[in-house]
Amino acid sequence: MTSNIIADLQSKRNIILENWIAQRELAEDFGGNFNSTDDLKTQSAELLDILLQTITSQNINDLYSSDLEPLFDYIGGLTVSRAKQGFSPRETAVYIFSLKDALLKVLGETISDNRELYTTTLEVSKFIDNIGITSFETFIRGREEVILSQSDEMAELSTPVIKVWDGIIAMPIIGTLDSARTQVVMENLLQGIVDNESSIAILDISGVPAVDSLVAQHLIKTVSAIRLLGADCIISGIRPEIAQTVVHLGIDLSKMVTKATLASALKYAFAALQLEVRRVAKEKSNL
């Protein structure tokens, strides 16, 4: 593509814009997501201006050239803002690709030589395709950031150490127990034992959906580490299905203290600490 043609396109910027907008308004997928066509017009005009300013006869064939960065930055911002407005990635891509039609239409009117028209068309479509791909990449990157931050938050939120009594702490585990989580659980629980000077730790696994041999191994590790600190560990909240799986898999949990419910674990812990829970005499209570 020669610089003459680019200059030509720049001079016909208004025609291209009109073509583009008209096409978007006719298209079926132009839903009610824009408040008015004015929004669409301003956005499209900005994009077209940046495109026509940054494009040169060299960088049209070299997508990694640094002078294209403002264009790709703008595309990134556009994708994010459209995603927030509720456009699907398909709608955004179709919107960008429709610019190609508008550009090609003007090119067809400008260039009379068929061979030149053919090569220019190829270059322009390749260029616009890449803009579309950039937009998609931005979209996916945004998604992945959300997923990563969510999993981080889950790991932090889901392992609280609860002081149940003097010398007794408990930790409920909600969700699957994988290696990374076990590490967090173990560290938090051991630190909790040291901080509270607890001699008994209750690990409640009511919220763990399934126990396989790997999870059992993680539990055994945690219990052994707690023993090394000089405290005892009770595993509570073992559901019947989990008991079944554990036995079917041939996992030996006999060296650990296991209880069906948190209540029975607490009872055991009280007994170990020589504590007693009693009902107070009737006259004392108003209930």
């Binding site: 034992i193 040291v194 000077e197 052994s224 580490a225 707690i226 090394l228 600190l229």
Partner: protein, 130 residues
């Protein structure tokens, strides 16, 4: 060469490790401790490792050895005050220190030994808290 002091407290021996334990120091400790158990006829050994922040498999093995040797000489070994990071390391190294008793701090370790002293009957770890 520096040595780790071994204090005699009644029927028990108390070892507080305050420095980073390198291999030769650990071996010297093992030797000294067995000598002291034999000489004093101690019934229990308390090893306080609360200041120890780094362990390796060799250290784990030495602690296991000390426990095994003491039990041959009729003395129980209690390791007290282990740091969480140290416990995790030992577990990951596959050294659960099975023959060793553990306690949160020296006080509880002492109580555990006292509880086991009168007669070593069945009630294993039920009396380890005052």
């Amino acid at each position: 060469m520096e040595r780790i002091p071994i204090l005699k407290m009644g029927k028990f021996l108390l070892v507080t490790i305050q420095v980073d334990l390198y291999d030769r120091l650990a071996l010297a400790l093992e030797e000294d401790l067995v000598m002291m158990v034999h000489k004093t006829g101690a019934k229990g050994v308390l090893i306080d490792i609360s200041a120890l922040s780094i362990v390796d498999s060799f250290m784990g093995k030495i602690i296991g050895n000390i426990a095994a040797m003491s039990s041959i000489l009729d003395a129980e070994t209690v390791v007290v005050g282990m740091q969480p990071a140290v416990a995790i390391t030992l577990i990951e190294l596959g050294l659960p220190l099975s023959g060793v008793y553990t306690a949160l701090n020296v006080e509880r370790g002492m109580a555990l030994l006292e509880a086991r002293m009168p007669e070593e009957t069945g009630n294993d770890r039920d009396n380890d808290d005052e």
